[in-house]
Structure formats: structure tokens, C-alpha cells
């Protein structure tokens, strides 16, 4: 009886937590792409958070939409043109925003808001006139369960590039986040470093859109970073914990999506958001306990 009960419980747990990924290739690809994105995008989110640039990330996430929309019209839903279109649009948004903030009294955050509102409106108008409902939903909310091998390769490429960059420049980025004046006095070119950093942020957002969609891409980058920041007191722990929590949140979101038949992108972001609120509650209760 005990053996039967144990086998039944094991079988239930297996069916709930492992089976979807053991049996279905699309679930494996979805999970793998999420793991790669968490390794790649979440550390960038931590840097955005530490530098106080979360809103800039939001602006870039929305700013990539017109490029992706135009690419979708001219080249269909092929991943490579969509990827290039998104990166081009993101970099243009970053460049124009930087020009606005350096050549006028508008602060950087405000200039990003101007450009992202415009680019989001432009993207939606392009899709409204030329896109199908399927295209619009796919571009705005993603479809991680439909990720193909080419898209997975692009995500892996972005992940490798980001990991190499952070491996080389993580300490310098940290110094720039904490003490940008020391960075400049030391003779480093902060514009080159920050342009490279934002180019990687854009690349990761474009890579994330396939899984989460352009409207939610920033959530995958920022929510685990914020959760890690709430829970940990040192940047090294924040980087590790954020990426691990991101992977766990994606895993839980994919399970929700599979078992309850919810859309995958919003399910993942929902899990990451709940994690973040739970971390906040946990930290608050811990402080009160002390």
C-alpha cells in the first residue's frame, strides 16, 4: 500500500513538474530559451537597477516595436530580419534620446519617455495598418512555446556576447554605476562603455520579445533583478540570486501556461512579479521580526 501510494505521489509530481519538459520538444526549447535569457538579460537588468535606469530600459523595450513591425511587414515573421529590425530601432531610440538629453535641458529619463511614446505609437500604427491580429498579438506578447531553432540560436548568440562583455567589463560597469566621476577622472570613455552596454540591452530585449513580447520584455530583465536586490545585500549575491530566481520564475510560468492553458509570456511575468512581491513581503516581515 505504501509503495503504491509512493508511486502515485511520484507519478503525480512527475506529471506536474517534469513531464511537460520531458515529453515535448517545444517545452524544452521554451525552457532553454528562458534559461539563456535569464543568464544574459537579468545581469543587465541588475546594472540598470543599480544605475537607476529602469525607466530607460522600459523606453528601449517599447522603442524596438517599430523596427520589428516594419521588418514583419517587409520580411514576414522570419526571425533574423525581425531581430535586425528590432536592434536597429532600439539603437536609433537610444541615440536620439541621448542627443535630446545632451543638447537640451530635458533630463535623460524624460527624453527616453518622449521617444518611446512616439516609437510605441508608431509601431502600433504600422501594425494596425499592415499587420494581422496574429502578428500583433505575437509581437506584443510573444510566443515562447513557438520558438524555433533559428530564434534559439539568436538568443544563444546574444547570451554568449553578453556573458563575454560582462565577464570583461563587469567591474568597470560597477564602478561607473557607483562612482561615474571616478570612472571619468580615471580616463575611461564612459560614452563608449555605455553605448556598448545599451546595445547589449537592446539586443537582449529583442531576443526576449520572441518569448515574452515587446510589451513584457522588460519584465524578464528587471523583475528578477529587483527581487534579487530586495533579498541580497551585496552585488555578487544579487547577480547570482537574480538569475536563479529568473530561471525558477520562468519554469513556474511555463508550467502554469502548460497546465492551465494560459498565454506563456504573461504567465512567466506573473510568476516573476509574484516572486518579487513575495520577496518584498518576506523582507518586510523579517525586518519587523528583528
Amino acid at each position: 500500500m505504501k509503495i503504491w501510494a509512493r508511486n502515485t505521489m511520484f507519478s503525480t509530481l512527475w506529471n506536474l513538474f517534469i513531464l511537460p519538459f520531458a515529453e515535448y520538444a517545444f517545452m524544452q526549447k521554451a525552457l532553454l530559451s528562458c534559461v539563456l535569457l535569464c543568464i544574459s538579460a537579468v545581469p543587465l537588468g541588475v546594472f540598470l537597477l543599480l544605475r537607476g535606469l529602469s525607466l530607460v530600459g522600459d523606453s528601449l523595450a517599447h522603442g524596438i516595436l517599430p523596427g520589428i513591425a516594419l521588418a514583419a511587414i517587409f520580411f514576414g515573421m522570419a526571425p533574423v530580419p525581425l531581430f535586425i529590425g528590432g536592434i536597429a530601432a532600439g539603437l536609433i531610440v537610444a541615440f536620439i534620446s541621448n542627443q535630446l538629453s545632451t543638447r537640451s535641458i530635458i533630463p535623460e529619463e524624460a527624453s527616453f519617455t518622449v521617444i518611446y511614446s512616439l516609437s510605441l505609437a508608431l509601431g502600433v500604427l504600422i501594425l494596425f495598418h499592415h499587420g494581422t491580429n496574429t502578428n500583433v498579438m505575437h509581437l506584443l506578447f510573444g510566443s515562447v512555446l513557438g520558438i524555433d531553432s533559428v530564434t534559439l540560436s539568436l538568443i544563444a548568440g546574444v547570451c554568449v556576447l553578453t556573458t563575454l562583455f560582462l565577464g570583461k567589463f563587469r567591474k568597470l560597469l560597477l564602478m561607473y554605476c557607483f562612482d561615474p566621476l571616478l570612472f571619468q577622472v580615471a580616463g575611461y570613455h564612459h560614452k563608449v562603455l555605455m553605448f556598448s552596454f545599451f546595445a547589449l540591452v537592446v539586443s537582449n530585449l529583442v531576443a526576449s520579445y520572441q518569448a515574452i513580447g515587446t510589451l513584457l520584455a522588460l519584465g524578464l530583465m528587471m523583475l528578477p533583478a529587483i527581487t534579487g536586490r530586495i533579498l541580497c545585500g551585496h552585488y555578487r549575491q544579487i547577480f547570482k540570486v537574480s538569475s536563479l530566481l529568473g530561471i525558477f520564475g520562468c519554469y513556474a510560468g511555463l508550467l502554469l501556461s502548460y497546465h492551465i492553458d494560459w498565454p506563456s509570456g504573461p504567465s512567466i511575468i506573473l510568476c516573476l512579479g509574484v516572486q518579487c512581491l513575495a520577496a518584498y513581503g518576506f523582507k518586510r516581515s523579517g525586518q519587523k521580526g528583528l
Binding site: K171, L172, L174, F178, L181, L182, V185, H234
Partner: protein
């Protein structure tokens, strides 16, 4: 106007500087400071003390004229409020940032601890900076300055909001650096400090910038 001396290491020539061409903060600034001087940069709020230090640090380009210096390594400490004190790093992390400025390998644990001892801070290197008081944090920044091993120190009102004991300890650190031949430019409002510790005064005013010896050094009255 102070004459420019041939042995000078920091020279301002016909300098005009500010944040907008139509309203310069500093105009027609001409002076020179020899290597090894300890100089208080004095002036009312908005007179251009911070602007002057930023120009020397290379953080701001002159609108006109130029700033020349022959120092190989310089260190700049901005005003107190410039740092995010909740940043998730330890004291050791802050001190190790000096390695990016000073390429010599002086960032082992013993060197970091020695720098902390010099600024009289008895806290673990692993302590997060968010646990430090304002005075303790300023001691950490001074320890980082020591590790940078600069020839020229540019300090922008480093003692604002800092307790007397810390000011006294850090003043001792600056005096030691001066005795070792380092050049120090210290923007400050505190005449008591200036008259106790600083032998030269750079008076920054809209009408002109003048460099003079501090005749009240060692006297216990205010100017």
C-alpha cells in the same frame, strides 16, 4: 592676477568656464599653483569652486582659455551627496576601485587594511557601505584616495555634514599627504579649518580669482 611661474604645475590661462556659454561661472581666470602646495579654494556659493575643480579633473571643458597641469595622477572627490549610499557593495569593493586609477598593484587585503588604519576606521573590510555613518563613509573615500596614490588631490567640500572628530582625523591625513609633497586643492567654507591647517588660499570671486598665502594660519580667529 598671479604671475605664471616657470616651475608651476597647475596653470589657468585666460579661462572662461561654466555650464552655458551665455552665463559663464568663471571668467578671465589666470593663476598658477606650484607642485606641493596645499591650497584652500574659498568662495561663496555659486562662485565657481566646484566648477574650478571639475575643470582641473577634466570633467568639464573650458568655454575659453585653458587649464594645463603636469601631474601624472590626480584624484577627485566630489561633494558628499554625490554617492548612492545604499549601493550594494562592501568597503573592500570601494577601496579596490582605486586599482582602475592607480595601476600599481596595491589592492591586496593588507594594503586595503593599512589604508583603513591610516584613516582610523576600525570596521571590517567586508562591511556593506550602507551600514556606515556619514563620517565613516567619508573615511572610506579618503582611504581610497590614499590607495590611488595621486600627485594632485581635488577635494570638493569633503567635510560637509561630518563630525568634528572625523574632520580632525582626515585633516591629519591631508597634512601628511602635503608633507609628502602632494598637491592639494580643497574647496571649503570652513574658515576655522582653513586657518588651522591650510597654508594657501585661492579666493574665487566673480570679479577675479586670487591666490595668496594664508596669513592667519595658526591664529585662532576668523577672517
Amino acid at each position: 592676477m598671479i604671475q605664471i611661474m616657470s616651475q608651476s604645475h597647475l596653470i589657468f590661462k585666460n579661462l572662461k568656464a561654466g555650464y552655458h556659454p551665455d552665463s559663464p561661472v568663471l571668467s578671465n581666470v589666470n593663476f598658477s599653483i606650484a607642485a606641493g602646495e596645499y591650497c584652500a579654494v574659498i568662495g561663496s556659493n555659486g562662485s565657481g569652486k566646484s566648477t574650478l575643480l571639475k575643470l582641473v579633473a577634466g570633467l568639464l571643458a573650458p568655454l575659453n582659455g585653458n587649464v594645463q597641469h603636469s601631474f601624472k595622477a590626480l584624484a577627485y572627490l566630489p561633494q558628499n551627496g554625490s554617492f548612492n549610499r545604499t549601493f550594494p557593495i562592501s568597503i573592500a569593493d570601494v577601496l579596490k576601485m582605486s586599482r582602475y586609477v592607480n595601476t600599481s598593484d596595491t589592492c591586496d587585503a593588507a594594503a586595503l587594511q593599512s589604508a583603513l588604519n591610516t584613516v582610523k576606521l576600525a570596521v571590517s573590510l567586508d562591511c556593506p557601505i550602507q551600514n556606515l555613518s556619514g563620517g565613516q563613509f567619508q573615511r572610506v573615500l579618503f582611504a581610497r584616495l590614499l590607495l590611488q596614490n595621486p600627485d594632485l588631490l581635488l577635494l570638493d567640500e569633503p567635510f560637509n555634514g561630518i563630525d568634528e572628530e572625523t574632520i580632525h582625523d582626515l585633516a591629519g591625513v591631508l597634512s601628511n599627504l602635503h608633507q609628502k609633497g602632494k598637491t592639494i586643492l580643497l574647496a571649503i567654507h570652513d574658515w576655522h579649518f582653513v586657518n588651522t591647517f591650510v597654508p594657501m588660499i585661492l579666493d574665487v570671486k566673480n570679479s577675479g580669482t586670487t591666490l595668496r598665502s594664508n596669513e592667519n594660519l595658526g591664529k585662532k580667529h576668523h577672517v
